[in-house]
């Protein structure tokens, strides 16, 4: 499916990736930064999964109901691992934010900068 001459999946990835990157860079609230990081990772996971897809193919579970052209199982396994890694990263980031909030009472980068 082409849009402006570029494959829709790739365009979606580009937009999502830039939104995520912008959030990480520009937002001053720490939690929004971490969310931005998640958005970026999701964008990459989306690209990874769609790259393994074949038009009109069945999911890679070989049962009686499913037939010949199967989607590529490898990217789906990679995404599963990627998601778990993203969860772990976010858990640690949130724990750190809770720690910062406990000590400085704020999670705004500007206020943190003035803190001793």
């Amino acid at each position: 499916m082409l849009l402006f001459g570029i494959d829709l999946d790739y365009l979606a990835f580009g937009v999502l990736f830039c939104v995520g990157l912008y959030m990480v860079v520009a937002k001053s609230n720490l939690i929004k930064k971490v969310l931005g990081l998640n958005v970026m990772q999701t964008a990459v996971f989306a690209l990874l999964v769609t790259s393994g897809m074949i038009d009109g193919a069945d999911p890679p579970v070989r049962t009686e109901a499913t037939s010949a052209p199967f989607a590529n199982p490898l990217p789906q396994a990679m995404v599963l691992t990627g998601i778990v890694v993203a969860v772990a990263l976010t858990a640690v980031a949130l724990a750190l934010i809770v720690q910062i909030h406990a000590d400085y009472g704020t999670i705004e980068v500007d206020e943190l900068k003035e803190a001793p």
Binding site: V24, T81, I100
Partner: protein
């Protein structure tokens, strides 16, 4: 049972150790440290086998799970992976140092997770060095980074958490870029095994996406290696972390980025035609600027650990410049410095940690005249300072000699001159450190009658300092590994 079977255990052993340290430590926190140390010594002993094997018969690989290379995950132990042994040995030095060091900084029940994190970090770094699968490298990099973020935030209150979060955010973005790079490579070639991908790249793949893939991977590795423009996260993180952690971070974790870069060079062998030359000139300039700015920023610091953190940035510049000069001797210099710098930085950070732990002061002006009260620690600090600048007969000199030689060989004499004089002039500022320790009278009473650190902290420092000197003179051993590693990496550099 070939030595290949030992490879997965080089990773699984420290990790099982981490789980056991955590589990047993929850009950008896005292034994967490000892247990962690035992596992690390065992891993080091295990690592000797593959290292001798690679010295004798060259590189060998191992298919995990029994599936042949492109289908399963392949672990490959080549000459450069021999870096695993010194890496573990340095951990074996750092852990006993932290037995007594943690008494002041970490409550007892949080020491078990600390040692577990160290073991996870060690196992992951070993894994990263021996893995030959692109996605596997990504996941190992994640474990290294995650444990590093935690180790930075472990002791301090808010400020450490803030530094760790900055490190996490920048590291997270870098990891995402790496995964994107891996995705590009996967979409282009369909395979994840380094050798297979390299073959498919050589067989011809359209240039633009391949160049982007390599650029993405390179950027991610350079962020982890803290090369100059991408180093913003390093100073705060390494200065705030407890000293044994700073030693591990500055000495080894930063090198994982460099290992990634070397694997990228090997991967890019096939496509060396179009953009390797571009990448090389970029990296040489980035390395040169890193050397100068890192060293300059290190000079103007008053806090010892910040000074050492900035000098790490400068030394990463040495390594990257050595690699990017694309001449045999320069590459040998760069690769040898990966190990030598780890050794020197461990010496310096342990000595700095001991000074701070016993006097409570962190700045040069406060630590004046500490040499009389703590002669051994100051001796280790002095040897480290002389090595970090690269004066003979210390370990730091070997890399400078070879990179300068390589620079002249590659016809870029300018870099050689800048390198030599940049380092030497900086020593005049490191004299500030030596003067403060030795030749200035003590200002504070706490410094004047500080007691020398106990032997569990003193022995690792002195051993590392001794190794700094020995490796300077008897540099033959690491070079016997580095030379073949560089020679079979040479074709990767194209014109």
């Amino acid at each position: 049972m070939t030595w290949g079977d030992a490879l997965p255990w080089l990773v699984a052993l420290p990790w099982t150790g981490a789980v056991l340290t955590r589990a047993l430590g929850a009950r008896g926190p005292r034994m967490a440290g000892g247990l962690a140390w035992a596992f690390l010594i065992a891993t080091a002993a295990l690592a000797v086998g593959p290292v001798t094997e690679v010295a004798r018969h060259g590189a060998f690989s191992y298919a995990v799970g029994g599936w042949a290379a492109p289908y399963g995950v392949e672990l490959r132990f080549d000459h450069f992976s021999a870096w695993v042994l010194p890496l573990t040995l340095l951990f074996v030095l750092v852990v006993p140092f932290s037995f007594r060091y943690l008494e002041g900084t970490l409550p007892l029940e949080r020491q078990a997770p600390f040692y577990a994190l160290l073991l996870l970090n060690a196992g992951a770094m070993i894994g990263f060095t021996i893995s030959a699968d692109l996605f596997n490298l990504f996941v190992f990099m994640e474990v290294v980074s995650l444990s590093s973020y935690a180790l930075v935030a472990i002791a301090g209150r808010g400020l450490a958490a803030w530094a760790a979060l900055k490190y996490l955010l920048i590291g997270g973005v870098a990891s995402t870029l790496m995964l994107l790079g891996v995705t590009f490579v996967f979409v282009l070639t369909g395979s994840l095994n380094l050798a297979d991908v390299s073959a498919r790249f050589a067989a011809g793949v359209d240039a633009a996406p391949a160049a982007t893939a390599i650029a993405l991977l390179a950027t991610s590795f350079l962020v982890k290696a803290a090369l100059f423009p991408l180093h913003v996260w390093l100073p705060d993180a390494h200065a705030i972390a407890p000293s044994p952690v700073s030693a591990v971070l500055s000495g080894m974790v930063v090198k994982i980025g460099v290992v990634g870069l070397i694997r990228l060079y090997q991967l890019a062998y096939g496509s060396s035609a179009f953009e390797m030359a571009g990448l090389n000139t970029l990296l040489v300039w980035a390395g040169a600027i890193a050397i100068v700015t890192g060293a300059f920023l290190a000079m103007v610091q008053n806090d010892i650990k910040l000074m050492l953190a900035y000098s790490t940035i400068s030394n990463v510049g040495y390594i990257v410049m050595g690699l990017a000069l694309a001449s045999p001797y320069a590459a040998i210099g760069g690769v040898v410095h990966v190990f030598n710098h780890a050794l020197i930085k461990v010496t310096l950070f342990l000595a700095a940690g001991a000074l701070i732990h016993h006097t409570g002061f962190r700045t040069l002006t406060d630590l004046r005249g500490v040499a009389r009260a703590m002669p051994y620690t100051s001796a280790a600090m002095a040897i480290g300072a002389i090595s970090i600048v690269g004066l003979p007969p210390t370990a730091g000199f070997v890399c400078k000699w070879y990179i300068a030689l390589g620079a002249f060989q590659a016809g870029q004499a300018g870099f050689g001159l800048a390198l030599v004089f940049g380092a030497l002039l900086i020593f005049v500022y490191y004299v500030r450190l030596l003067n403060a320790l030795y030749f200035k009278p003590a200002v504070h009473a706490a410094v004047r009658d500080a007691s020398e650190v106990p032997w569990s902290m003193r022995a690792p420092m002195l051993l590392a300092a001794l190794a700094c000197l020995v490796m300077g003179v008897l540099g033959g051993v690491p070079l016997s590994f580095v030379e073949p590693a560089v020679l079979d990496m040479l074709p990767a550099w194209g014109p």
